[in-house]
């Protein structure tokens, strides 16, 4: 590998160097994931354990947030719709908002905070206490055992959690609609399902998979590259969250463009 001489370069140029070195190393980290993920052994036991951890960690907060988002969004949308005498459209409106955007986004952001940070901290502390080195010297592939399992687990679990969030948010909305518009549960859900298309569900699924992958791989990458000391672990956890949230927003915007292009093609 060629060494970059940091001494003689001005600060800006050093920062640019560091950015591209970081980008290259992140890219090769992702590449390594795809090289390892399809190779046996598959570590099913560890993947299942991680899935359980992820669900267990994020479920309480996701339930609460989803439910409240459902109620608040319904309540806030009502005045605008009632101006046109269109409050009967509330279930359809909420359905579209929740399934297309809010469900995946709320779930992914909460999971980035709860799961991403704990993956970053856990792997970061394994790095600084030389547990990763210990695996390597006993001929165990730590990338496979730690990174692949966690990233697969988040990629599988986020879509499931998104479906759950969608459901909880719609239930929150139903309670509000039921109280105000006296709509029954079955009528509410008929309207909900009429409003959403296959494209909505499919794109929501793909988006959730991508969000899940992002949360897992970013947490692992930050942990794996954390600097020495307890301070490094804290930084790894923190920057996992910041980086994952940033990427999730970018991905959301990209997905919006792509889905709109398909929808109106």
């Amino acid at each position: 590998m060629s060494k970059i001489n940091h001494e003689k370069k001005p600060l800006i140029s050093k920062k640019i160097d560091r950015f591209f070195i970081g980008l290259a190393s992140a890219f090769s980290f992702v590449k390594m994931f795809f090289q390892e993920v399809f190779k046996p052994p598959f570590e099913f036991k560890e993947i299942i354990r991680q899935c359980y951890e992820i669900g267990y960690r994020s479920l309480p907060l996701i339930s609460l947030t989803g439910f409240i988002v459902g109620i608040v969004f319904t309540n806030q949308s009502r005045p605008s719709l009632s101006e046109f005498g269109a409050t009967s459209w509330l279930p359809a409106l909420i359905s579209i908002a929740v399934v297309r955007a809010m469900g995946p986004l709320v779930t992914a952001l909460i999971a980035a905070g709860k799961v991403g940070s704990s993956i970053g901290a856990e792997i970061g502390s394994m790095k600084v206490t030389e547990q990763i080195d210990a695996m390597e010297v006993s001929a165990i592939n730590p990338f496979k055992y730690l990174v692949v399992t966690r990233t697969v687990a988040t990629t599988l679990m986020i879509p499931i959690l998104v479906m759950y969030t969608d459901f909880v948010a719609l239930m929150g909305s139903f309670i509000n609609v039921n109280q105000n518009e006296l709509v029954s549960l079955s009528t509410f859900f008929v309207q909900v399902f009429e409003a959403i298309s296959f494209l909505d569900l499919f794109s929501s699924l793909i988006k959730s998979l991508v969000f899940g992958f992002t949360i897992g791989i970013v947490g692992c990458y930050k942990g794996y590259n954390s600097s020495k000391g307890t301070e490094g672990v804290g930084k790894a956890a923190n920057s996992s969250v910041v980086m994952a949230m940033f990427l999730i927003f970018i991905e959301e915007l990209l997905a919006l463009q792509i889905v709109n292009a398909i929808r109106y093609a």
């Binding site: 060494k3 394994m126 210990a134 010297v137």
Partner: protein
Amino acid sequence: MLNQDRGKVVEIRGLKKSFDDNHVLMGVDLDLYKGENLVVLGKSGSGKSVLIKIMVGLLKQDEGSIRILGTDTDGLTLKELNKLRLKIGFSFQHSALYDSMTVKENLEFPLTRNIKGLSRKEIDKRVDELLDAVGLPQSVNQMPSELSGGQKKRIGVARTLILNPEIMLYDEPTAGLDPITCMDINKLINQVREQFNTSSIVITHDLTCAKETGDRMTVLLDGQFKATGTFEEVFAQASDQRVKSFYDYNFIK
């Protein structure tokens, strides 16, 4: 006393390693003979850990050659390197126990992942043997966080021994331990050699440990070995004032 007739298990020549402008190793030569304990003495930051990490392929040297058990480590594929790694036990300075696993799981982990098809009974038996060897059979179901520093060291050693390595590398085995626990660990290092027929490199800045465990010792200073021989030889003949000061600091102070 010396085991030079028994042949070399490690031969290092002209080893160099720098991190940018930090020249850590500047031409290190080292021989480890079968069955001996070689102590590498050096103050912290002198590159002791770097030396043994290069030996197991955790870091890569800039220059120089390493032969371990007849295998040249340069240009090995990962598979070949891993095969060699199984013959080397690495005891980490802070033990590096997997903190999400119990003691038993820590020991099983390298075993079951490298030797396929062991029965539950065989695994349990091997774990028990090693916990007995390091004197901690009662810790089998404890978590690493419940162990003292000395106990962690012992479990770390047990974990590296579970694959029957021919060479042991101890990174500062007594650092951060009280004097009595240090004595126990020194005894353990000598006992491991007898019981498991290992050849060892013991890295330390603790002269008592060096004296108790080493057949031979060498002093790492400015990226090179400055004095090599038995404990008495090194300090009797030391021409370098800093080698002497090592002794003075440890024993006279």
